[in-house]
Symmetry: C2
Subunit: 227 residues, 2 copies
């Protein structure tokens, strides 16, 4: 809503249609009709159809990448993973439709954009993999398969745009924290030993508070945590 420019409004409309019907099945006439102009008029704002897809995929890719680069350097793997996931989930839930197009339609980019995109994704996954590795080396994480774990983990958090709605009152950071908690501690209710690892006791208590059903979050929430 409240798009800055006409072009931004057009990209927003394209995002919505690409999300619903897919890039290939969305025609410029579809788009024009929803935008309220004739098909030929679209080309006063854009050069071609693919430019729309490009402008949906790459800014988000860039934002996600930057999000990881801006993480504090002196964290434990557990904390790094949490922060990385919060960054990721915050960004993709901020624009769910854009994220879904980003996740599903990038392959319709022509070369060399497509390869460039895949390289960014690979590098991004690599950063997560390194956090996992760091956690295994430090003894924070068990000796799980790094690659499989990384992909399963990213896949799990990438499901958020499909069900996350801002109107539900959920906060992205809360969702990220909840997912991190599941991924790090598992579903199991086994009693953990009293010896909690370094300095994560406060974090953990806070995590537990945010774990219940949706309706309860406005009460205590996770904000009680850091202070």
């Amino acid at each position: 809503m409240a798009p800055k420019s006409r072009k931004a409004a057009l990209e927003q409309q394209a995002t919505s249609l690409f999300r619903d019907k897919g890039y290939a099945a969305t025609s410029m006439r579809d788009l024009a009709t929803h935008f309220g102009v004739e098909a030929a008029s679209l080309y006063s704002h854009i050069r071609n159809k693919e430019e729309l897809l490009y402008n949906i995929c790459f800014p988000l890719a860039q934002d996600l990448f930057s999000g990881l680069e801006n993480l504090p350097k002196d964290l434990s793997a557990t904390e790094r993973l949490l922060q990385a996931l919060i960054s990721h989930v915050t960004l993709i839930t901020r624009s769910p439709d854009q994220s879904i197009v980003f996740l599903q339609e990038y392959r319709h980019l022509s070369e060399p954009a497509r390869t460039e995109f895949l390289n960014m994704r690979k590098a991004y996954e690599q950063k997560f993999k390194l956090i996992i590795r760091q956690g295994i080396r430090s003894g924070e994480f068990r000796k799980i398969d790094e690659k499989i774990t990384t992909l399963a983990l990213l896949s799990a958090v990438n499901s958020t745009p499909y069900w996350f709605r801002k109107e539900s009152g959920l906060e992205a950071s809360w969702v990220a924290t909840l997912l991190s908690d599941i991924l790090i501690h598992g579903l199991s209710n086994k009693t953990k030993s009293l010896q909690e690892s370094e300095g994560q006791v406060r974090r953990k208590v806070a995590l537990r508070k945010g774990v219940g059903k949706v309706e309860k979050i406005t009460k205590t929430k996770t904000s009680t945590k850091t202070k």
Copy 2:
């Protein structure tokens, strides 16, 4: 390989193309060329393009559904979840391309097939959600959000067709067990209390066996922990 009928071979070729280019971006002429005939000849095997998509999506949907219905009835939630995930991962890794089309292209089905498909998926997710709920009630699982957990969990396992290759020597049941282990026990290396919950000790030992890196499985692994 070794397709029973010409029609089956055509569906296999269609699966491969739909997987690589998407349903909408794959033309009947593409398909015909790869299949080695003229476009018009395809219609002696099929009624229309959508029939191909239908025959890719629905049999797999049916198989997945049956997989859950055939689970033994007297299991703990932890065991049920493991069995359900093994069934799921085994089926989708058996035909990775078909699974990817199933996951990504079903939306191009026309009505009423599309709605029928979505209803099956909903019911399928519901069955997983019930296992989670059962686990929470029995105290096996922590009080996590059922819906979010279910979707994140299915999303995590649905990433397998994207990287799983039979030639890698991995076994589907091993992958399923590994993913279950991550989801149930988490990444964390926190020492668990000695009081393991009812009768799962043997299973757990078995799980741990499948946890290390691929090459190292037979050596020591995480099993050093519990004792």
